[in-house]
Symmetry: C2
Amino acid sequence: MSETEISTLGEFGLIDRLTRDFTPSQPSTVVGVGDDCAVLRHSDMETLVTTDLLLEGIHFDLTYTPLRHLGYKAIVVNLSDVVAMNGTPRQVTVSVGVSKRFTVEHLDELYAGIRLACKHYDVDLVGGDTSASVTGLIISVTCVGDAPRGTVVRRNGARDTDLICVSGDLGAAYMGLQLLERERKVAAEVQDEQFEPDFAGKEYIIERQLKPEARIDVLDELRQVGITPTAMIDVSDGLSSELLHICKASGVGCRVYEDRIPIDYQTALMAEELNMNLVTAAMNGGEDYELLFTVPLVQHELVQQLKTARLIGRITKPELGAVLETRDGNEISIKAQGWNAFTAGNMSN
Amino acid sequence: MSETEISTLGEFGLIDRLTRDFTPSQPSTVVGVGDDCAVLRHSDMETLVTTDLLLEGIHFDLTYTPLRHLGYKAIVVNLSDVVAMNGTPRQVTVSVGVSKRFTVEHLDELYAGIRLACKHYDVDLVGGDTSASVTGLIISVTCVGDAPRGTVVRRNGARDTDLICVSGDLGAAYMGLQLLERERKVAAEVQDEQFEPDFAGKEYIIERQLKPEARIDVLDELRQVGITPTAMIDVSDGLSSELLHICKASGVGCRVYEDRIPIDYQTALMAEELNMNLVTAAMNGGEDYELLFTVPLVQHELVQQLKTARLIGRITKPELGAVLETRDGNEISIKAQGWNAFTAGNMSN
């Protein structure tokens, strides 16, 4: 790979190069990259806006995160927030800060991943900012979406007796991270440039960590089946944390059943191998980007039809608190032990 | 000032504390801080989106930038982009990354400035992200605004014979930066904690650097007088750079007259004192956040009425290039030497 210093292109040259292959395709994009602002037209729709900051050394480690995957993931985690409001992602802006150790080719890789995500989810890149940084890679993404008026699903609509559902499976991204961290340490000890970690049989958990997806397909199925969730949130900080967000915003309690929590067998095997508690990983691991939502009890039969999500518990009166019922019938109070950017590492115990 | 470690609050506690005094007042804000996304309703309007990344050590130096001013400026530079499209800023999201040397009280100061700007310009804080960073302070702001359909003014509408106007005066923010940098070096050499730089008689250029404003008042006057600019841009990277953006986007040339460029006397005195070229500072200094716009020749008399802006030149055929006509009648080709985050420091020669 050739190495071109970013300063040789200058800021505007760099922006031209990075954004030239992005062609807006959304009818709501009136003006994309290249002016003081993007101009969007969300007629008769509600506009959704969300933003995330991804920092090297805090949110990602480039020793095992390919830049292309990082670009893809940076977009997906933002789309996921729009999806969690029952909206459709339409546009993104991407700002990057890069230190001197990054070349133009590195940014080409990052933007290849961004482009792949934009194409896959049919969203337009409409703006951003590029800058040098003193240390490390900084990525800030803002996603704009829309939803027909009155269809947005917030966190505050869950009511007593509602059913609690979650899509996909949980804990895999977290176990993938543990595996990648272990291999990084092994590689550092071996000090062999040729060292290649063996991820055979563990592809799923690695992919869940490095290349998560936003569950637009779940929204599609919910509409098809005829379910409108009363509350919804995406699982970014861990199931426990998200359940508590819904309970707090809705003023309710919840009861979740341990044996209902969806876990992939690769996640279970990895927890076994690393001698870690599987339920803790599934409840508090985070970065699953699955959808957690509540449905009125009367729609119980519709919930049974869902292929992308399953029932894991029910909403209760607030005085009952947030409770996990274990396989052996015990009750454990649910506490947020999710990933916290200010105390990173608290999950490792 | 007491010192509270950020980790004692946790991410959600911190967000609660920082955003509690922000109450949405815009009718278009349906849902503000506290869900997966902000929900906005820009009925029949075009939605404008712009974003900027501000990095410590690249865009600002905290040895002479009070955090309160920095918060204010971080908002203003984004509002300015919406204003430059002839739009009205309505909402902002603010993401911050902070290293361990920052306390909760530091962030309180930053957000006090953000709150002041939001109040002054009547925009709502509707979201954001907070995170630890490995080093330094990182601020990413996205601003959302709106404009009635068909009223957005882009960079590409300038036509041959149009008049070129600019608001306020130029070069002051740059000379303010030079002064602050000089005093920083003096303070470092003196090594006296009690050292207080003397800014008497230089308040204006200091304020232009530390507390710029977005020129919504210029838009108001343009509407009042009956002028709709054919092209507009805000002066963030320097007049030369912005003129070239308009020329490139519109496919035209320009001729600007040196003796027409508005310069405050404090700017001129400072350039004299520092033995720097005044016109270079005014043409290439940047961070003025004034509005540069073009007006059809037939509105010449309306332009004369403007109090907030003045005529500095005219648009020409593309083959004539971008030219500065000096006081002594010479022609200088305008080149972008504006501030570049990738080669910062290139202005000091």
